[in-house]
Symmetry: C2
DNA sequence: CTGAAAGCGCTTACAG
DNA sequence: CTGAAAGCGCTTACAG
């Protein structure tokens, strides 16, 4: 068992050992090897030439098995790892990918990160991961470039001009990039959910259930992702002879946007207070939808008997509420696989002249929170 | 707008431009600069000596302002970044921290990662992040070592012997480490929630409400974290003259462990079927607690009127269910700050002889899912 | 300010 | 198998 020392965020007291007579070698009977920091030191340690060690390390032919074994054994014993920085200077690939995250606090984004990293690792890439904001993006990209990453991935929604500038910078360094989620950045290779189509599917489905008036929850605002969604709603309504102005209502302006769940619940309250109630509610995300559902239910409204509610992202929480939430699945696995495929096609080759843009079809997942219009 | 090209995971078609007569310079009127890859090239580009450029780059004194400006301007124009690998060979710190995650799919772990990264970045560390399993941990650590990271952090629960071996390896390389969450690894610097105490608080509170029989949800199994929790329960019960055997029941063995929410719901079903029902239920995590709560409610039981349910981790979902879930907050911010403090005390110094272990006190967060025993 | 030189830790011909 | 050498991209004295 390790000894327990409580500290308060300060450095632990360094105890100076002065000549304990009972001192015994720790862990093993051989003396502790010094840290070996170079092939030169290591070669001396094994009693071979630097050149020979290097050849074993790189699996080159023409070596006696006995020599190979000797070196391997010494590597295991000393834990010697050749300096990656020297290796790269000699021309070895860095096998590094830089990943810029809008946030590590939103579940779908982290899920994309996790899956992308798994794919990259299978191709033996390691990842440098940074959360970026508008001000910090320049320095992050410069650091990635100084680390000679082989590609940079952006996951999330960013300030468009900012990322466009970063992408231009990457282009000047012949470094491939890919944007996941944020669609519409000039000259950006992009993989993103087809959000228009997502709303087409949701709205068509609700219209087929007889809904003609819709409350929009959190879909206002300048974000490209929200605007695309609203465009999809408008388009679909138009196809059924309705208009956005007449068939939809947004009360987003009535409440400050804090925690999404509370925001959704507040919105429900406002809709309840309005003269004419909508029969179906489309939320920006699952959290807002769940909040709204709670708001309606607490006021005694039946979901989906009196109002239908649909979410977005198809997170676990959709299954944990009652009734379970209808939502749109982002198809994260397909998204990430497409991203990895595009990157694989660009790394180590001349950059393509035109950006590659791939839209991923969403999957509407119908559950019990939506039903026929009353 | 970028042109839209649909592809199927294959590389984009490379279009060869053959002599369009309308070709115009893109983006600017100057010709596109070649990618500059070294100070030598860059010095030639600005018309200065390599030495001078280097001095500007490193902010050394004795340079004319005019020269400095000239170099800075050229850096902005060309986006030149000095090769980090050469810099490090010349003795510059790597300012890299390696982070080993058990998983990127569990919210509390990702939250720790996010907050730790923010603290590290404030000290201008970049992070190499890898998800590790028992087999892969060796190669990940060796890669971190070859990248000469200045410290390695483990976040989550691991196979003990595996991580102990990795920590020994790091020690041989004089590289500081820190384990967040997994307590009890020999010789490991550790920061972890005091899980025993967490259960002491929950159980004391429930006992004070009159509860005398407890259902344990998902707390069985060999995981150190679960065993610590059970030990805390036993201790507290003993303090009130009760015993684990008589006062608690676990039915975990009756259901396969899949999705936690469904697992919780199934467990509730089994408890409902049993002869004598417990009055309070302690869950491994919030998801299981929410599942159980749903299970009870669907069977017509009132929460907390007839049964009390408490979760663990205090995730957002606690607020989104009805009644809101009593849970234990891990105090992630304090945890991560402690971790960063310990690391800061160890980087660049001789490793301490004894490991530092710091336990973080939990915060019981009482909500409406727990109440007086019926 | 410039220029030539040494050296960080490697790999890779090259001659023994 | 060994050993000496060149060179990757930097920084840092050192002499001009």
């Amino acid at each position: 068992m390790s000894s327990i020392v409580r500290i308060d965020g300060t450095a632990p007291p360094r105890t100076i050992a002065h000549g304990s007579r009972l001192a015994v070698p720790r862990h093993s009977t051989t003396s502790l090897p010094r840290v070996i920091r170079s092939t030169a030191e290591f070669a001396r340690h094994v009693g071979l030439a630097r050149t020979t060690v290097s050849r074993v390390l790189n699996g080159q032919p023409g070596l006696k098995q006995k020599t190979i074994d000797r070196v391997r054994k010494a590597i295991d014993e000393t834990g010697f790892t050749p300096n990656a920085y020297a290796l790269h200077l000699k021309g070895k690939r860095t096998s590094l990918v830089g990943i810029c995250m809008e946030s590590l606090l939103t579940a779908p984004a982290v899920s994309k990160l996790a899956q992308l990293q798994r794919l990259l690792r299978a191709q033996s890439y390691a990842s440098l991961i940074e959360v970026i904001d508008a001000e910090g993006s320049r320095s992050v990209i410069r650091h990635f470039l100084s680390m000679r990453v082989e590609a940079v991935v952006f996951i999330g929604h960013f300030v468009e001009e900012e990322i466009a500038a970063r992408i231009a910078e990457l282009g000047r360094h012949a470094t491939p990039h890919l944007v996941i989620d944020h669609v519409g950045i000039p000259n950006a290779n992009t993989v993103a959910l087809d959000r228009r189509r997502a709303m087409t599917e949701v709205v068509s489905y609700l219209v087929s259930l007889g809904h003609r008036s819709f409350g929009l929850l959190g879909l206002s605002g300048p974000l490209r992702s929200a605007r695309d969604r609203v465009a999809g709603i408008a388009e679909t309504l138009a196809g059924h002879g309705m208009s956005l102005e007449h068939a939809t209502v947004s009360l987003d302006h009535l409440h400050p946007r804090g925690n999404d769940f509370e925001f959704g619940r507040s919105l429900a309250g406002s809709f309840l207070g309005a003269k004419r109630r909508q029969t179906a509610y489309l939320a920006l995300n699952d959290e807002i939808a769940v909040g709204a559902m709670h708001g309606f239910q607490e006021a005694g409204l039946a979901v989906p008997g009196e109002v239908s509610v649909s979410g977005f992202n198809n997170q676990d929480i959709c299954l944990m509420v009652n009734p379970r939430l209808t939502s749109v699945d982002q198809q994260i696995q397909r998204t990430v696989e497409a991203a990895a495929g595009i990157l694989a096609g660009q790394v180590g080759r001349p950059l393509p002249r035109r950006p590659v843009v791939q839209m991923i079809p969403p999957l509407l997942t119908v559950r019990e929170s939506t039903g026929p219009a009353p």
